[in-house]
Amino acid sequence: MYRIFIIIKKELRDLVRDRRTMFFMIVFPAVIIPFLIGGVSKLTISIMKKEMDKTLTIAIVGDEYDSTLVEFIRNQDKLILITTLSEHQIKPQILDESIDGAIVIPNNVREYLSEKKQVVLKHYFRSGKGENINEKRLNRILEDYFSPLIEARYQSFSLDKAVFEPYVISKIDVATEQEKFGKTIGTFLPYMFLLFCFSGAMYPALDLGAGEKERGTLETILTSPASQLEILTGKFIVVSFFGVMSVIFGLMGMLGAVNLNSDIPAEVITIAMTILGAKPIFLMLSLLFPIALFFAAFLLSISFYAKTFKEAQSIMGPLNILIIIPIMIGMMPGITLEASTAWIPILNVSLAMNDIIAGTLSWPLYAEVMLSLLFFTGLSMWISVKFVSREEVIFRG
């Protein structure tokens, strides 16, 4: 036990002085990621604002058939009306971005309206990435125009609108604000935390396995009185410590980003503070420690197997996918923490964390997740110790 402590102390001192490790433990999760998240949200808001403030250029074909509608559209803010195009010119003009959309009014509008028939207006637009803000803006203008006309038609027939709409759904969402947040934006957080944990553990693992081999220090430590089990236990603890610390720094970074970002609504900040309370943090850390040890066993096995730092890096890179896939599955709709998913490592942590964030964690399932983690972490560490203790792995090459 004493030697394990000595090894931990030395490895911590050594790694804390390594700029690359510190970058992945502190700078990456605590500064870069929150900065990116904050930057992306600011950018999205600014693009949306720009789109909403943009002056739309709308073409109307057949303006002579419905002057009231044309006048209504012309009176809208931030809108330029063009009435000189013919219908066949609309598509190329939208594609070359000369206009943002077009409406084609049929020549029978007056006749149909007076006969109380349905008028079909053509609305040309170009769909793109994300929401079609231009199309939505024009739709809203048209709905504003149609709404009183629809009401007037009901009244002209002395009809009660409710007669034609026998069912109206009144939605009552019983989910708390924390739950809503947890089940939407919150699904993203376990993904980030597990990724921080893995990337934070990766560089120490590279340094403490393949790095030791490459420097020739492994041979020396093996001739010291420390047993292989003591050496590996010390390294497991240090690697997982760095993984967990990355998450803690990530949490701190996100907290800072949430507080400093003026665009985030106050209620979201309140929910974020609830999530970052003592109990949820304690529960998340209780899951992170064993999963960090699981990652450490996995990463150290690869690191000791590799002949060089470079070889270890090239093996670990593609294997990232093995970690990312279960996390991604956890983000899919319909995948929830239940008796079966609670046994699948990584996925269970991702789902359990999501429930912790949403405040909907079931204690029996949490216990099942912990049992699964203890079993798989113990198993992976046992396999790793057996694997790394083999002469052909230690002296490979």
Partner: protein, 258 residues
């Protein structure tokens, strides 16, 4: 005292390694050390020479408990390397030409780390550290990080690291390979001091001149087999050629890479 009795060591080959051995090679393992016996006595320097791939490093690693013998026994100060590896490690210092150091630790921290692993008391550490640092002239750079030291300084740290727990048996595996004359000289001086203080020293080298000037006993191995084992004077009296180099080549055959 190191006692080696009938040790053999075979390595299992991977598919790739079998492929590289060519079509003539049959089997799935290679015998690196084949039934070797010798003993190294206290207060004497035992030299181990052989061409590249002869099995020298394998033997030294088995003495250092890093590798286990496939058959046979090795005892260091009466402790079996397989049965009591911890006891062996306590009485052993191991220094090789490939031995690395932790660049981000200072010289002082590096030496202290190994003293702590040997569970030395503060008093014992301070005494041993002061003696070694003064002997090796290390005080000036003891607080500097190893990555910033010159090769010669690093070699001194390595020596201090090897000797801090005052081992009774010291293993040197090609300790001067890749070192300049000055750095090599500090190693040679250390080997002599070890002998003078009654330690058991086993030493492998490619530099036959070093063997000639240092060794009391000698073993020549080639392809895992022992070609000579005895006192250096005995070797000198039996040799059929002029120099150690010529005799070595005569024994192991032309074309062997020394």
């Amino acid at each position: 005292m190191i006692e080696i009795k009938n040790i053999s060591k075979s390595y299992k080959l991977s598919r790739q390694q079998r492929k590289e051995m060519g079509d003539d090679f049959a089997g799935d393992s290679v015998l690196a050390v084949d039934d070797i016996s010798f003993s190294c006595k206290s207060g004497r320097i035992f030299g181990l020479i052989g061409p590249n791939g002869a099995g020298k490093t394998t033997i030294l690693r088995m003495i250092g408990t890093m590798l286990g013998p496939s058959s046979g026994t090795i005892t260091v100060n009466g402790f079996d390397t397989v049965q009591s590896p911890q006891a062996v490690k306590h009485s052993l210092g191991f220094l090789s030409g490939n031995t690395g150091l932790y660049d981000r630790l200072t010289a002082e921290e590096m030496v202290r780390y190994y003293a702590d692993l040997h569970q030395m008391s503060d008093i014992d550490f301070t005494q041993s550290r002061d003696r070694l640092f003064s002997l090796l002239d290390m005080e000036e750079f003891s607080g500097r990080r190893i990555g910033k030291l010159s090769t010669g300084m690093m070699q001194k740290v390595n020596i201090a690291r090897t000797m801090i727990h005052e081992p009774e048996v010291v293993v040197f595996d090609e300790p001067t390979s890749g070192l300049d004359v000055m750095a090599s000289r500090s190693i040679i001086r250390l080997i002599r001091e070890c002998k003078n203080s009654g330690k058991t020293v086993i030493f492998s080298s490619h530099r036959l001149g070093e063997i000639q000037s240092l060794c009391d006993d000698l073993a020549i191995i080639h392809k895992g087999k022992l070609f000579f084992n005895g006192a250096y004077e005995e070797f000198e009296s039996q040799k059929q050629t002029e120099t150690l180099e010529d005799e070595f080549i005569r024994l192991v055959g032309e074309g062997a890479d020394v």
